[in-house]
């Protein structure tokens, strides 16, 4: 029987050989792999996965609050049978939480790399600058979408068990899927603004404040315009702030009874939102074309 303490004379077991440096001539994967790796890394960063508990607190706090809201709504519906909040209203009611989420995660994705000086290391590798910017945006959009879409799906699943008959489930699905799209619109518009601001500020805390500021900055304009004694001004007021801009799209597309009075300007809201996103992406790309080249 061989025991651990039995001396093995024939061969030196357990000796670690320093095999020296080994050159690598295996595959070096291309652009898609780099983009995919960075995307996964960024998505994990967004939720603080693979990092300390400190990085997890804030994103998961918001995820928790949103989850509780969804759970309560489902429970209320189960008890009373009343729909307290439609699927499409869900992201609107939570818009302040979406802003907070973007203000926490956006700087985590963009400002952190600026502050720690990692950015030059990325750009000293075969990663395209535009890819970096777009991947970070995609990660923030996905994180925000997931933060909202998962609770929304839970609500739908709950409802699907509650309603009677397959026809009613189809009706639910008819409400749920457009709402999911509406959540995506929220995620895209909010993320573009948040990431653009975050990419300009090196310090995370400052960036978080700046993002919240950027969302709230123009809300007085909306308030003033909407009380003007002029119908078109009232109906166009929502264009002035990203929050009401997205709300206007909701009124135009998914909601039967809009909470904003947008009149006939629905398509304009859509157009402005598209212009806002495109402009934001172009600015983001311009920002990353120059940064860290000093």
């Amino acid at each position: 029987m061989t025991t651990l303490d039995a001396p093995q004379t024939d061969r030196p077991a357990g000796v670690i050989h320093d095999i020296g440096y080994q050159r690598y001539d295996g595959p070096r994967l291309g652009r898609r792999y780099l983009v995919g790796s960075l995307y996964l890394h960024s998505l994990r960063t967004a939720f603080g996965l693979g990092r300390t508990i400190k990085a997890k607190i804030f994103p998961w706090l918001i995820v928790g609050v949103v989850g509780v809201v969804a759970a309560v709504l489902t429970a209320v519906r189960a008890q009373t049978g009343e729909v307290a909040l439609s699927y499409a209203e869900f992201p609107e009611v939570l818009s302040i939480l979406i802003i907070f989420f973007c203000a926490i995660v956006g700087p985590e994705l963009a400002s952190r790399d600026l502050h720690s000086g990692v950015l030059p290391l990325y750009f000293a590798r075969p990663l395209h600058r535009a890819d970096y910017a777009l991947v970070k945006l995609a990660a923030l959009v996905s994180a925000t979408f997931l933060m909202l879409a998962v609770p929304l799906t839970v609500m739908f699943a709950g409802a699907a068990f509650m309603v009677d008959g397959i026809g009613a489930v189809w009706d639910e699905l008819g409400d749920f899927l457009p709402a999911l799209g509406y959540v995506a619109v929220h995620a895209i518009v909010y993320s573009v603004l948040a990431l653009l601001v975050a990419s300009l500020v090196r310090r995370r805390a400052v960036a978080a404040g700046a993002i919240v500021g950027a969302f709230l900055l123009t809300s007085p304009v909306v308030a003033v315009l909407s009380v003007m004694p002029h119908e078109a001004a009232n109906q166009l007021a929502g264009l002035a702030s990203p929050v009401t801009l997205v709300g206007g799209i909701g009124d135009w597309t998914v909601e039967e009874v809009g909470d904003l009075d947008i009149g006939p300007y629905g398509p304009l809201y859509g157009l402005v939102a598209v212009g806002f996103v495109v402009a934001g992406i172009l600015l983001l790309l311009a920002r990353y074309r120059k940064v860290a080249a000093r």
Binding site: Y33, S37, G50, R51, S116, G117, L121, R125, L127
Partner: protein, 330 residues
């Protein structure tokens, strides 16, 4: 193959600051020192080599590629260690270097394997699972080097790798760089404002000042062993100098060192079968023994590279006023 070749390379920031002006230099594989005062244009040079900056004029070729055209190909084969802090404090070294390996296109498992292997090569073992934020400066420098090395580049660009290190840390870092250049077989371009530091490990040296080439040469030409012995004793340096002078050796004093030229082979006192060098050693050792002094060092001295810039030594060794204007623009 030529490692780096530039032709009238010029880089100006705006219209005011000239970082590089008309720099033409050819660098062969090996360990190459890029020396110059702060703001001499070293970092700008490296960034142009990486294709991170576009030159205002002239051409550059790295590993036979033009970094302004084939930037991605160049960057796939080059490792870059910046001068400044570049590590996220809340990741472990192992995770960070793995991520950087993947960003160079290494598949997932390979990236992890090579990351821990590279960290081991730079001297980080169990610490690699701790967060980088808690590391000492020396350990951070090692992680920075590891991330530059992890994808097995053909050329390493190191910008002031010994910055912020204590003397022991400097020696360790330089020894590591020397190993990379010799054992690992990777060419290294190492930037430093300390000539005395890089001359120890480099095969070739490029000195720039104010964006202009001061001198470029193989170090073997520069540091040929001279016929001078240097002696260091911890006390009684003056007595020894007097004794050696009395013995017919024209001693020169250099701080705590005594520099003794080897005896002329034809002069008196050099016996047959004895080389002039041996004889000089004997004379010095006898003198030291007779005076009973604690001998620290006795060796044959190399030409100090500084002496190569003897036309105006202050330019390289001292702080250069002309170069500091660039500091903010780098």
């Amino acid at each position: 193959m030529t490692l780096i070749a530039t032709q009238s390379l010029t880089k100006t920031y705006g219209n005011r600051v000239t970082a590089l002006s008309d720099l033409t230099v050819t660098v062969e594989p090996g360990i190459v020192g890029l020396v110059g005062a702060n703001g001499a244009g070293k970092s700008t040079f490296i960034k142009i080599m990486l294709g991170l900056l576009e030159p205002t004029g002239g051409q550059a070729r790295v590993l036979g590629l033009d970094p302004t055209v084939d930037g991605h190909q160049v960057r796939a084969r080059v490792g870059y260690m910046p001068e400044h802090d570049c590590l996220p404090p809340d990741l472990s070294a192992a995770e960070f270097v793995t991520h950087m390996a993947r960003m160079s296109g290494l598949p997932k498992t390979t990236a992890r394997e090579r990351a821990s292997e590279t960290l081991r090569h730079v001297g980080l073992y169990e610490e690699r699972y701790r967060q980088v934020g808690g590391y000492s400066t020396g350990m951070k420098q090692r992680v920075k080097l590891a991330q530059a090395l992890v994808h097995d580049p053909d050329l390493l660009l190191l910008d002031e790798p010994t910055n912020g290190l204590d003397p022991a840390g400097r020696d360790a870092m330089l020894a590591l760089i020397e190993r990379i250049g010799t054992e690992f077989g990777i060419s290294v371009l190492v930037c430093s404002h300390l000539l005395g530091e890089v001359e120890r490990i480099c095969d070739a040296l490029v000195a720039i000042e104010g964006g202009k080439l001061l001198r470029s040469a193989q170090l073997s030409d520069m540091t040929a062993v001279t016929e001078v012995l240097s002696v260091e004793v911890s006390e009684g340096t003056d007595e020894l100098a007097a004794r050696l002078a009395a013995a017919g050796l024209p001693v020169r004093r250099d701080n705590r060192l005594l520099l003794v030229p080897v005896l002329d082979p034809d002069s008196a006192g050099v016996g047959a079968g004895d080389t002039a060098l041996d004889k000089t050693y004997d004379l010095i050792l006898t003198a030291v023994a007779e005076l009973d002094l604690p001998l620290h060092r006795l060796d044959q001295r190399r030409h100090r590279v500084v002496e190569l810039f003897a036309t105006d030594p202050a330019r390289v060794s001292g702080p250069v006023a002309a170069g500091t204007a660039l500091e903010g623009a780098r």
